[in-house]
């Protein structure tokens, strides 16, 4: 039954895409985030819907889209450069078979991120992209939110998010960081959306969705998610008008929430303080040390999944503050658990540098835009708050990336694509505005 509903949905969506080719881009965004082929048992599994969607999206752009004054952002060039660099490290990888497996989805994420801004020619398109990203992610977030309320989550790795294989956005830590990163964008839709006008229904739904987003770190008991919520609260101070009232409200809400938090969550959060007695945190530190040493020997990276070659030893305190000697643990092939070390180990210093440039330039560009378009009235009143939301989301992601290996998370590359699209859209608008007076004085040519 669910299979048929998905097929009907996809057919209708594809059908609309033939009327308006930009919708095909949104179809791909939807398929990439929700992975309907993983939620069904029959039919969709055997059809390469992702490939079909991307072929139609690119084909639609080539054949039908307006390409006058197409601008390429500097970061699109960097993304292509990173793609080529990753291709190089995949050829020379330590573990060629495993590296190829990761390359197979990474190149798609990067190539789509480089392509996406070319299609974002209008305000509505930028908004539509973000709306579909949020609605697609909400299909996972709403499930997680309701189940957290119903059952209290059940600890790390226990919250059932419909898919068992713990990959993509369905992985607990990843969805925690992403759910918190999109909160500022959801809030933006409460004030500036034009597809769904922000009436009371839209505002109520957005508030409920923000609440569900905040519940995801609780339900999945991920410490990273809690840190992301803290950072988001700090970043939001800059955007609110009544800062003291906002801080007071945060304090009251935070305290009021504590009695409702499940014990699995509070127990896990308490381990943040005693990280040296915690295996998950201790192995992270050991793997990071190993990665730094590995990069010294292999400055150009070991290719995807190079962590499979690690052998680590780490001390584990049995109980915090106890007099007995630390227990020595030995392990191998431990994952990076950090996007920064993932980049350093797999792509070396050049790869890490390009990746950092892509991310940090995004934050700087959004800062530039939010300052330039801070006027709350006029045609571009929506721009400053959107740049602020994209920037806050990106900073939250970069914090989450410190503890999760999500350097190539496709959702984040779509967010980066939206940033580049906004940037090139505004550059086009500025050039049009400076073009206007010349045009007025010119005699219209009988073209």
């Amino acid at each position: 039954m669910r299979d048929l509903a998905f097929i009907a949905f996809l057919l209708a969506f594809f059908g609309m895409g033939f009327k308006r080719p930009f919708l095909l881009v949104l179809v791909y965004v939807y398929i990439d985030i929700v992975s309907p082929q993983r939620l069904t048992y029959l039919l969709l599994n055997s059809v390469p819907i992702s490939l079909i969607a991307v072929a139609l999206a690119v084909g639609g752009w080539i054949l039908a889209d307006d390409k006058r004054d197409t601008r390429v952002g500097g970061r699109q060039v960097l993304i292509v450069l990173l793609l080529l660099y990753c291709w190089g490290t995949t050829i020379t990888a330590d573990f060629p078979v495993e590296a190829k497996e990761k390359w197979d989805w990474v190149w798609k994420a990067l190539a789509f991120a480089a392509f996406l801004p070319l299609t974002l020619r209008t305000r509505v398109r930028i908004e539509a992209l973000l709306l579909f990203m949020i609605l697609a992610a909400s299909s996972i977030i709403v499930v997680g939110g309701i189940k957290t309320i119903a059952s209290g989550g059940g600890g790390y790795g226990q919250l059932n998010l419909m898919v068992d294989n713990n990959s993509g956005l369905y992985e607990g830590s990843t969805i925690s960081a992403v759910a918190i990163a999109i909160v500022p964008i959801i809030v933006w839709f409460m004030h500036h959306g034009t597809i769904f006008r922000p009436d009371w229904r839209v505002k109520a739904y957005c508030l409920a969705l923000v609440f569900a987003c905040l519940l995801i770190p609780v339900g999945t008991s991920t410490r990273t998610g809690l840190l992301c919520i803290g950072l988001l609260a700090l970043l939001s101070i800059r955007n609110v008008k009544r800062k003291v009232a906002y801080l007071a409200m945060l304090g009251v809400l935070g305290l009021a929430a504590i009695p409702f938090l499940p014990s699995t969550f509070t127990n896990r959060m308490n381990t943040i303080k005693t990280y040296d007695a915690d295996e998950s945190a201790s192995t992270r530190l050991a793997v990071w040390k190993w990665t730094i040493e590995y990069a010294k020997a292999n400055p150009f990276g070991g290719g995807f999944n190079a962590y499979l070659g690690n052998h680590i030893r780490y001390d584990l305190k049995t109980t915090p503050g106890a007099a007995e000697a630390p227990k020595v643990e030995v392990d191998k092939a431990r994952a990076y658990h950090s996007a920064y070390f993932e980049m350093l180990g797999e792509q070396g210093y050049p790869g890490l540098a390009i990746w950092l440039a892509i991310n940090l330039i995004g934050i700087v560009r959004m800062e530039f835009i939010r300052r330039r378009y801070r006027d709350p009235d006029g045609e571009f009143a929506w721009v400053g708050p959107l740049a602020a939301a994209l920037q806050s989301g990106h900073i939250v992601y970069l914090l989450g990336a410190g503890f999760i290996a999500i350097a190539f998370q496709p959702f984040v590359y779509m967010l980066i694509g939206a940033q580049i699209g906004l940037d090139t859209y505004l550059a086009r608008k500025r050039s049009e505005q400076s073009f206007r007076p010349m045009r007025r004085s010119a005699v219209p040519s009988p073209a």
Binding site: F9, I146, R436
Partner: protein, 51 residues
């Protein structure tokens, strides 16, 4: 049950959003001073159904 409710809600909203986008002419182009002469010319032509 919860899965289907959440999937139904999010997919319903996506379908509605896609439907609303079909009716937005500014999805594909915004008025630009570059095409002011083109639009004057085009205004005498037959309107496109997909515009």
């Amino acid at each position: 049950m919860i899965d289907n409710l959440a999937l139904g809600l999010s997919h319903g909203l996506m379908m509605l959003a896609a439907f609303l986008l079909l009716k937005r002419p500014d999805l594909d182009r915004e008025p630009s001073p570059h095409d002011s002469s083109d639009t004057k010319r085009k205004s005498t032509e037959k309107p496109r159904h997909d515009a």
